[in-house]
């Protein structure tokens, strides 16, 4: 009785032709995204400014007082994210271990 080989998930194997390996310097000129990084960033800043200004043009109905501050949501999002990233960097100092930590 013959048996088909056990199917396994592809894992990284440099000798397997099916699994792609990184290619360097093949004359890649990038894509729309890589060519317009600066434009995308500028667009982001402009959008941010515009949505902030929209705060002047509608009537808020708030549950909490701070919601009435000008640009509260934008401010909160910005500060929140910066805090998140900075605290996460601190967390990394505490919990990061080398990849084979559990194999040791």
């Amino acid at each position: 009785m013959s048996h088909p080989p056990v199917p396994t998930e592809p894992i990284f194997n440099p000798e397997d032709p099916e699994v792609p390996v990184p290619v360097r310097g093949t004359g890649d000129h990038g894509t729309w995204f890589t060519r317009h990084v600066r434009g995308i960033i500028i667009g982001l800043y402009v959008t941010a400014f515009v949505v902030l200004m929209l705060d002047l043009f509608y009537a808020k109905h708030s549950y909490f007082s701070e919601e009435d501050w000008f640009g509260f949501y934008g401010f909160y999002g910005f500060v929140g994210c910066v805090t998140l990233v900075l605290l996460a960097k601190l967390l990394r100092k505490a919990v990061m271990r080398s990849e084979d930590y559990w194999d040791a």
Binding site: P20, V21, Y73, G74, D103
Partner: protein
């Protein structure tokens, strides 16, 4: 019309899969969720399907709006998952995935606790194969970790149910259907006795509560590319469903949910394995749902259920895009990936849709569900809760909305040029992507299936809500972009991060070390006592009681006398003891003989019985 539980359609239907081959099998796999869905549609609300077993009436199927809502989305997830995995040849995965979906359906339609528990265990046992099917040493370890935690959860639940029944005259009903048979039937468990606590904790494990969550972050990233898609849909959402059913309005849940929403995002920022990032993000999303359940108002419960509904779809979509990347490149670490949008544009686009959905951009699905929970929290005056949730909502954008698509498809060019995902994967992602946009754009599609009506003040598409949400998200994105430009953003590093599992991983290792060291010695000592010392001693005692007692006494006494070695009297006594022991060994066989041991124990047991009966 007699109904047939969809759970059985899927789980029994799955048993036929191994007997089919080729295209027929694919067709059958796709047909199963459809047939099951048809069976569900044919079942009128308020009907139930009872089965008499081991002295209990098992209500295999009980249909109200709550269970229907989960039933719909589980069918959706099952169909999309099967389509996504259509190229897979591994029968183990196909069978277990379909059974797994069936078990999830069984759990949400279960009308009593015992039935619920049966399917709950089924979830654990069927899903572990989706991890084992990876067939790697480390994924096997992860599978064991996953299975053990699941079993513990099941045991807690079982014991809890048994104790609860014991304290409540065998009451097992999970929900009482209202006479009209529609709507959501609240059935709060009564907080009396330890049983209900155990149930609470059992559900909490599968709900991935803080410190109980690591089975998600260990298990799911170790699953196969397609298996993780199924895993992301069912287990945790079943737990949310059960909380909605059994513990609505439990105050503790609010704080647990706040912890779930607020804390894992920090880990998501620094995690390298992108599917593990999704796991942390999943815990964060479930946190929102748990808060909703804890608040327990009609709006909050609606929000929890709606968010679960949307989460299954967009989280599935994100896992699908990551699965496609894993499938094509064999890599899953952010540090190894990047620039894939060149050759996988469609996958990248779908990932962006998923990211927008989970971040709750207007017109995408979480926008219409997360807001219900936020508003419910605000209306009930949970100020701190509201602030944390808002922070978590911003954090979602950071890790799931930007990090996942950015590091996989954009960022620096990894040089990888994989093929675009297979067509069946793209089709599955397209369906989910459309569903995300459809739900986000036409909220009533979802709202009308929720158990309670949505009040006007909670409707999502009002100018203030749209603008404020856009502000939050755009400025969060701005923060991330700025940090990246300033090179302040933590880079992707090859690493592992310690998490709650550290405690019990360390504990297990310590336990194993204890087991191999001291415990073994104790067992060895016990075994020697039971098989050798006691029987031999007894035999010698039977032969010469006086001698045996003297010998035992001498041994103890001379053990102490060993301190005074060198004194002539002590040495002589020890010499005599050695002689006695040698004689002892001559008259009694050295090693115990199993027969005689058994016979001796028979004598001992009989003596005990005699003393007992004649006393």
């Amino acid at each position: 019309m007699p109904s047939f539980p969809p759970a059985l359609v899927l789980s029994l239907g799955a048993l036929l899969i191994p007997f089919l081959r080729g295209p027929l099998r694919k067709l059958y796999l796709l047909a199963l969720p459809i047939v099951s869905f048809a069976a569900l549609l044919a079942t009128p609300q308020g009907s139930s399907f009872d089965y008499e077993a081991f002295g209990h009436t098992l209500t295999l199927m009980q249909v109200d709006k709550t269970s229907l809502l989960f039933g719909y989305v589980f069918h959706f997830a099952a169909f999309v998952g099967v389509l996504y995995a259509l190229h897979v040849k591994d029968t183990t995965q196909q069978v277990s995935a379909v059974i797994y979906a069936g078990m999830a359906l069984g759990a949400v339609f279960a009308g009593d606790l015992i039935t619920f528990w049966l399917f709950w265990e089924g979830l654990a046992f069927s899903s572990v194969f989706l991890i084992l099917a990876r067939r790697q040493a480390d994924s096997n370890r992860a599978a064991m970790h996953y299975l053990l935690v699941q079993i513990v959860s099941g045991l807690l639940l079982l014991v809890g149910i048994a104790l609860y029944m014991h304290g409540h005259d065998g009451a097992t009903a999970m929900a009482r259907l209202t006479p009209s048979g529609s709507g959501h039937s609240i059935f709060n468990l009564d907080w009396a006795g330890p049983g209900v606590w155990l149930i609470f904790l059992g559900l909490g494990i599968k709900c991935a509560w803080p410190l109980l969550h690591s089975w998600v972050t260990v298990g799911y990233p170790a699953a196969t590319a397609t298996g993780a898609v199924f895993l992301s849909a069912f287990t945790t959402k079943c737990a949310v469903y059960a909380l909605v059913r059994l513990f609505p309005g439990t105050e503790e849940l609010i704080w647990i949910g706040v912890g779930m929403a607020g804390f894992p995002i920090f880990y998501a920022v620094i995690e390298n394995d992108l599917r593990r990032v999704l796991c942390y993000s999943m815990i964060n999303q479930i946190g929102f749902m748990v808060v909703g359940v804890g608040i327990g108002t009609e709006l909050a419960l609606n929000g929890a259920m709606a968010h679960a509904f949307c989460d299954i779809i967009f989280k599935g979509l994100l896992f699908m895009t990551m699965g496609a990347v894993l499938f094509r490149t064999g890599r899953m670490n952010g540090s190894d990936l990047g620039g894939l949008h060149r050759t996988m544009p469609w996958t990248a686009a779908f990932c962006a849709i998923g990211a927008a959905s989970i971040s709750a951009f207007p017109l995408f699905s979480a926008f219409i569900s997360k807001s219900l929970i936020m508003i419910a929290a605000a209306r009930e005056g949970y100020h701190l809760v509201w602030l944390v949730l808002l922070f978590a909502a911003a954090g979602v954008l950071e890790h799931a909305g930007i990090k996942i698509p950015f590091f996989a498809f954009f960022a620096h060019d990894s040089g990888l040029r994989p093929k675009e995902a297979p067509r069946n994967m793209l089709a599955a992602m397209a369906i989910s992507g459309l569903a995300c946009i459809g739900l986000g754009s036409f909220p009533d599609l979802l709202y009308r299936h929720l158990p309670y009506a949505i009040p006007d003040y909670a409707l999502p598409y009002t100018w203030p809500h749209v603008i404020q949400q856009t502000q939050l998200l755009v400025w969060s994105a701005l923060a991330v972009g700025t940090l990246m430009l300033l090179r302040f953003y933590p880079p992707e590093l090859r690493s592992v991060n310690l998490d709650a599992d550290w405690w019990y991983r360390k504990a297990t290792r310590a336990f194993v070390a204890f087991g191999q060291g001291p415990l073994m010695r104790i067992f060895g000592w016990l075994s020697k006592a039971v098989h050798e010392t006691i029987p031999t001693g007894l035999r010698y005692f039977a032969r010469n009681p006086g001698g045996a007692v003297r010998l035992a006494f001498d041994r103890v006494a001379l053990g102490w006398a060993g301190l005074f070695r060198g004194m002539p009297a002590v040495d002589a006594a020890q010499e005599r003891l050695r002689e006695d022991q040698a004689r002892f060994a001559e008259t009694t066989p050295g090693a115990a003989w199993p027969i005689s041991t058994t016979v001796l124990y028979t004598a001992v047991v009989f003596l005990v019985f005699l003393l007992v009966v004649l006393a």
